[in-house]
């Protein structure tokens, strides 16, 4: 154990650790995290782990030993003698607000006082902290954090409450049923009263309930109560104290940057470090599997060293790769049959010739995630172990690949998960690129010191791991009544899952993330025939906020408008006629239309476009109000309706819808990584542009009241935005946009 920790291994910790049955009090990640947060150990709860006492825990199945910590439910909540409630969050906070959401679930069932609730991030331990949607994998993605935790975290809170109540009943010699709880306080009609902190030790001796009773919705105090639980991370993110990977400081820590291959598939030939090593502060220049690492005492020295480094690359294999060539190939593929992703139609060939045919080819670019915090990771090899600090969105993958890179067993690797400055999918990758590269640098310097690997913006944007390029070719036949009679749909684009650890989720050669939104679709289109081509490229593909829905929703929802126009019907009515089997989709569509005043005369020069989509089991419809001046698009207002089941934190849901709308609008306007000569042509915000404040429309969010199980909101606000805007542009007399971004059609200021 490194010496820094000794300061915190005080008597109090030892006492509590003994109570917990944990032999080494510094072993849990929380001790070190607490150090890192520089909040000071003394004033904080170490936490009295109250849900399962040592003896009960030892008797529970599946517990491998006390040192690995208690099993559920107490892996999620602790109550301290200082009356603070600590919620241990298994999900990664990258801005979407799930830390607040998970704490809300516990606090509600526990009847906690929100001002006394604290949060911390769980260590990498899939036995305790798996995402229940992902099976035995600990990770955050697919807008599933609250959805999979809804009962688990409530149960954890309810268990803690039941034990506090049982302890009070025993102490006061009154029936448990007569004890009331509210705001961290237990009360009895006799006048007895105790805080949770005062009852915590006694509660820790109680047996946990076998099946804790959960509240009916009518008794919720925080869940679905608007603004009752403000974000737990607001204060630290408004005063500069929130700790990101970039901010981690360890004694003697070095900073590394890597000279990465300039193109996709470029190979290192040789390098000359003579001048780089002359830069003051540069300590090492070393080959690593990723390229050439320049290690220094500070960031600027590392960057200057990299600038002085001479590297020869072999780009002969990569130089031919370019966007224009790829697009030509994809367009050709789109005319050919690929792997079917729908069942063959029962009456194939029997359909009568359509009265009208609508055909379109759509083209989507590579997209970088462009998180505000460029990728980074701190790695420290010491005392036969490895520790990493990063925004580990998929701890299980990062843990596995870090261990492999370090040549250590997984139990000698400790991950410290910190908040990250955005991800949008980037930090959830099955190569764990930022983690592995940091471990490789730490290994290359022989574990001499902790080392922070920092990507520059250019490194990150040029690294690949993009939302893949896609081409869709769609041909739809309408009958004489304007109803859909046939639908042929071809999709061309890299598979995100193929060739990686997620490949087993593919079925019959079809990556579901390539087709989701077309198959399945919310619309009743049994005649839809789909075929897929999944070309393999040296550019690594990755999910990007809402994944396949980023392109499928655009195609389906702009096609719906084209079909409605061809059939002479209102776009809203045309959609509703096909949504008979999806009442929740119809519901959000009608709500958004109603709130936006769909069909009513609006302001002159402003047109409304509408779109609806289901992703991650959440339904979102948006009406975009768009004007055009001098041929340039301006989105003035977006009215959004969302149905995500029980709205656990309404204000977080609104924030996610607002953010999704701005994120998607920026991509629609500007985002494209072009590949030229095998290299990414856009590397920084000057060419890979993001939406700015003056381009942000007014946003109005309406949440459908619902008792359905909660579903995610981090991504589902993205898919409908671009087609809603494109549909309004067509209404204003602009082109039917089939190639993104809008810069390709000269529809935005550049």
């Amino acid at each position: 154990m490194h010496p820094l920790m000794n300061r915190y291994r005080d008597a109090e910790q030892r006492r509590l650790a003994a109570l917990l049955g944990v032999p080494d009090p510094a072993a849990p990640a929380l001790t070190r995290r607490r150090f890192l947060q520089a909040t000071g150990a003394a004033g904080l709860v170490i936490g009295l782990d109250l849900a399962v006492p040592g003896a009960a825990r030892a008797a529970m199945p599946g517990v491998e030993g006390a040192a690995t910590g208690p099993l559920a439910p107490n892996a999620f909540v602790r109550v301290g003698t200082d009356n603070l409630v600590t919620v241990i969050c298994k999900h990664h906070e990258m801005g979407q607000g799930n830390t607040t959401g998970l704490a809300t679930l516990v606090a509600d069932e526990l009847d906690a006082d929100w001002s006394l609730v604290r949060t911390e991030y769980a260590p990498s331990d899939p036995k305790l902290y798996a995402n229940l949607v992902f099976g035995d994998l600990q990770g955050t993605g697919g807008s599933s954090a609250i959805a999979n935790s809804f009962l688990q975290y409530r149960s954890a809170g309810a268990t803690a409450r039941a034990m506090l109540v049982a302890a009070a009943a025993e102490t006061w010699r009154v029936p448990a049923g007569e004890i009331r709880t509210a705001k961290n306080t237990l009360t009895h009609a006799s006048g007895r009263r105790a805080t949770y902190g005062e009852m915590a030790v006694a509660a820790s001796r109680q047996a946990p309930p076998v099946k804790p009773e959960l509240k009916p919705a009518a008794r919720f105090v925080y869940i679905a109560k608007d603004r009752s639980t403000p974000r737990v991370d607001s204060p630290s993110k408004c005063n500069g104290t929130a700790l990101y990977t970039a901010d981690v400081k360890l004694p003697g820590m070095l900073t590394a940057v890597i000279a990465w291959p300039p193109g996709f598939g470029a190979k290192l030939v040789s390098f000359d470090a003579t001048e780089a090593k002359q830069v003051k502060g540069v300590t090492d220049v070393l080959e690593v599997p990723e390229g050439v690492a320049v290690v220094a005492t500070g960031t600027w020295a590392a960057l200057q060293g990299r600038r002085a480094l001479k590297v020869q690359w072999d780009e002969s294999a990569s130089r031919a790769l370019d966007t224009d060539g790829l697009l030509a190939q994809y367009r050709t593929l789109a005319t050919q049959a690929g792997t079917p992703f729908t069942k063959p139609a029962a009456d194939a060939g029997a359909a009568a010739a359509p009265a009208k045919t609508v055909e379109a080819v759509y083209e989507f670019p590579f997209l970088a995630h462009a998180t505000m915090e460029p990728m980074n990771c701190v790695a420290w090899l010491h005392d036969g172990m490895l520790e990493t600090w990063s925004g580990h969105q998929f701890p299980t993958f990062d843990h596995m690949f870090a261990a492999k890179a370090a040549g250590l067993p997984m139990d000698k690797v400790k991950l410290h998960t910190l908040v990250s400055g955005g991800s949008f999918g980037r930090r959830a990758n099955v190569w764990s690129d930022f983690t592995v590269a940091a471990v490789n640098v730490a290994t290359a310097i022989g574990g001499r010191a902790p080392v922070r690997l920092q990507f520059t913006r250019e490194d990150d944007t040029g690294a690949g791991l993009y939302r893949p390029m896609y081409v869709h070719a769609v041909k739809v036949g309408l009958d004489a009544q304007g109803r859909v009679a046939s639908w042929q749909h071809t999709i061309v684009g890299q598979s995100i899952m193929a060739g990686g650890p997620m490949a087993e989720m593919m079925k019959d050669g079809v990556d579901p993330t390539s087709v989701e939104g077309v198959m399945p679709t919310i619309y009743d289109l049994p005649m839809l025939q789909g075929t897929l081509h999944s070309p393999v490229l040296p550019v690594r593909p990755l999910w990007w906020r809402s994944v396949g829905n980023t392109h499928t929703a655009y195609v389906m929802e702009t096609m719906m408008d084209e079909l409605a126009a061809a059939a002479g019907k209102d776009p809203l009515a045309f959609r509703l006629a096909l949504l008979g089997k999806k009442p929740r989709a119809a519901g959000v569509l009608k709500l958004a239309a109603d709130k936006a005043g769909w069909g009513k005369a609006g302001r002159a020069g402003v047109a409304q476009g509408i779109a609806v989509h289901e992703s991650f089991e959440t339904f979102v419809a948006q009406v975009a109000e768009v004007s055009m001046r001098n041929g340039k698009v301006k989105v003035e207002r977006v009215v959004c309706a969302v149905d995500c089941g029980v709205a656990v934190n309404p204000d977080v849901i609104r924030a996610q819808m607002e953010g999704c709308i701005g994120f998607a609008l920026g991509a629609l306007y500007y985002s494209e990584v072009e590949i030229k000569g095998g290299r990414a042509a856009q590397r920084n915000f000057d060419t890979y542009r993001a939406l700015r404040i003056h381009e942000m429309p007014r946003v109005e969010v309406h949440i459908v009241p619902s008792a359905e199980k909660p579903t995610g909101v981090g991504e589902p606000g993205v898919p409908p935005l671009a087609p809603a805007v494109a549909n309004a542009v067509a209404k204003l007399g602009g082109p039917r946009v089939r190639r993104l971004p809008l810069t390709r059609s000269d529809l935005v200021e550049t």
Partner: protein
């Protein structure tokens, strides 16, 4: 030769490369990590600090250029306007990932210190240099107006 800086009211000496961008001096040398690196080319505003009360993208300013000037980082904010901005930011839960928000708050504070009642156009001009990839712009605008109202009240 050593440079003398005034950061958050305290004198700090720096004897490294005078071309080092102020950002890396603040973060790596002075340990003030609230100011963030986002792009290195003054495009995103995550590194925004105040120099003599005006915003500066610290990633693109050599430290030698600000020697002897009053530098304020997020850690050193204390003016009435700054407090109103931070309060409004928390009350409206502006933040999401939060990484850009130090820079946003620095820009918003400088705006309100110069123009206590900014129009939407003033906000556009003052804030357009600060990118938020979470697109919290809707709430940033609302929070600036709320802070302005608080200052007037």
């Amino acid at each position: 030769m050593s440079l003398s800086l005034t950061v958050n009211g305290a004198r700090r000496d720096f004897d490294g490369d005078p071309d080092t961008p102020l950002l890396w001096v603040i973060r790596d040398e002075l340990g003030l990590t609230g100011t963030k690196y986002g792009c290195g080319i003054a495009q995103c505003g995550a590194c925004t600090v105040h120099v003599d009360g005006r915003t500066l993208r610290s990633c693109s300013a050599p430290v030698s250029a600000v020697a002897g000037r009053q530098i304020t980082t997020i850690e050193g904010l204390g003016s009435r306007a700054a407090k109103a901005v931070q309060k409004a930011w928390v009350e409206l839960d502006v933040v999401q990932c939060g990484y850009c928000q130090s820079g946003q708050i620095m820009s918003a504070t400088a705006l309100l210190e110069q123009k206590p009642k900014p129009s939407d156009t003033d906000i556009d001009h003052a804030m357009a240099g600060n990118i938020c990839r979470c697109a919290t712009y809707h709430r940033i605008r609302a929070a600036i107006h709320a802070a302005s109202a608080q200052l007037a009240g």
